[in-house]
Amino acid sequence: MSEQAVSALPGAEATGVVTVREMGLQGMVSLRGDLAALGTVVMRLTGAEMPAVRAMTKGRGIQVAWMSPDELLILCDHGAADTLVADLTQAFEGQHHLALNLSDARAMFGLSGNASTLRDVLAKVTPADISALHPGEMRRTRIQQVAGAIWFETETEARVICFRSVAQYMFDLFTVSAKDGGAVGFNR
C-alpha cells in the first residue's frame, strides 16, 4: 500500500538564509538490545559498523545511529523497513531485543546552506552546542518546545528528525528562524 503512503508535509520547502525541506518518507527502524551483542548481525544486515556513543555509521544505503546505551536507530529506505524489522527479529530469535518499524512516527527535515549560517539557524532553536556537532554524530536534544535529533550529513547539509505530529511546528520554526535578515554571524 506504499503508493498511498504520504509523509507528514509532502513537498514542504522554504528558503531564507538557508533552505528548509521536508524530506519525504524515510525508513526508520528502532532496535533495542544489548548493543555489545548486536554488532555482528547489524553489520551483516546493514553493512554498517556498530556506532560508538552518539555516533552514526554508514552501510549499504543505510545509516546506523546510536540513540542510547541500549538503542539504535537504523535509517533505510521507507519500503525496506518492514523487511529489515523481520530480518532483525529473525536474527535475534531467542535473544532479548525489540525491533520496530517507526518510520511513520517521525518526520525528517533537511536544512542546507552556507556552513556558518546553517549552524546559526540551528543554534536559534536548540541548547545543544551546535558548533561542536560534526558529520558522524547525532545529537538528540530539545528543539525549542519539542524533542528532536540533529546531525550533519555534510558541513552544509543538516538533518532534523522529530515526531510526526509536530512536523508543522518544526517546519514553521525553521522557516521563521531562517528568514532573510536572520544571519547571526556567530558560528564560523
Binding site: M67, S68, P69, E71, P127, A128, T141, R142, A147
Partner: protein, 106 residues
C-alpha cells in the same frame, strides 16, 4: 539553570533538556509493609540544605534516568552516576568528601 552530564550518553545537558525526578535511593515498600515504612517511602524526603542525591531523566536526549549528587545551596555538582544502584558509589562519596570534609552519608 543547571547543567548535568548524563552518564549514559556523555552529553553535558542543559536543565531544559532534563526532567527532575526527586530524591534518589528511596527504598520501595509494598503490600504488607508497616505504615511508618510506607509513609517514609511515599512522603518523607531529606530536603537537605547541602549534599543531596537526586534523580534526573535525560528526557530531551537519550531518555535515560541517571542520578546526581549536588549541593542544593551552592548548586555545586559532585558527580552524576548510574540509576541502577541502591546507594551512592564510592567514587561519588569520595568526590563529596573531598569538597565537604564534614559531610557524612545519612
Amino acid at each position: 539553570m543547571l547543567t548535568l552530564t548524563c552518564p549514559c550518553c556523555g552529553i553535558s545537558a542543559c536543565e531544559t533538556e532534563l526532567a527532575p525526578g526527586g530524591e534518589a535511593h528511596l527504598k520501595r515498600f509494598g503490600p504488607g509493609s508497616p505504615d511508618a515504612d510506607f509513609e517514609s517511602y511515599l512522603f518523607l524526603r531529606q530536603n537537605s540544605r547541602g549534599v543531596h542525591f537526586e534523580r534526573w531523566r535525560h528526557a530531551m536526549g537519550c531518555g535515560k534516568w541517571f542520578l546526581a549528587a549536588r549541593d542544593t545551596a551552592t548548586l555545586e555538582v559532585f558527580g552524576t552516576y548510574s540509576a541502577q544502584t541502591t546507594e551512592p558509589p564510592a567514587d561519588i562519596i569520595a568526590a563529596i568528601r573531598a569538597k565537604r570534609p564534614d559531610w557524612s552519608p545519612a
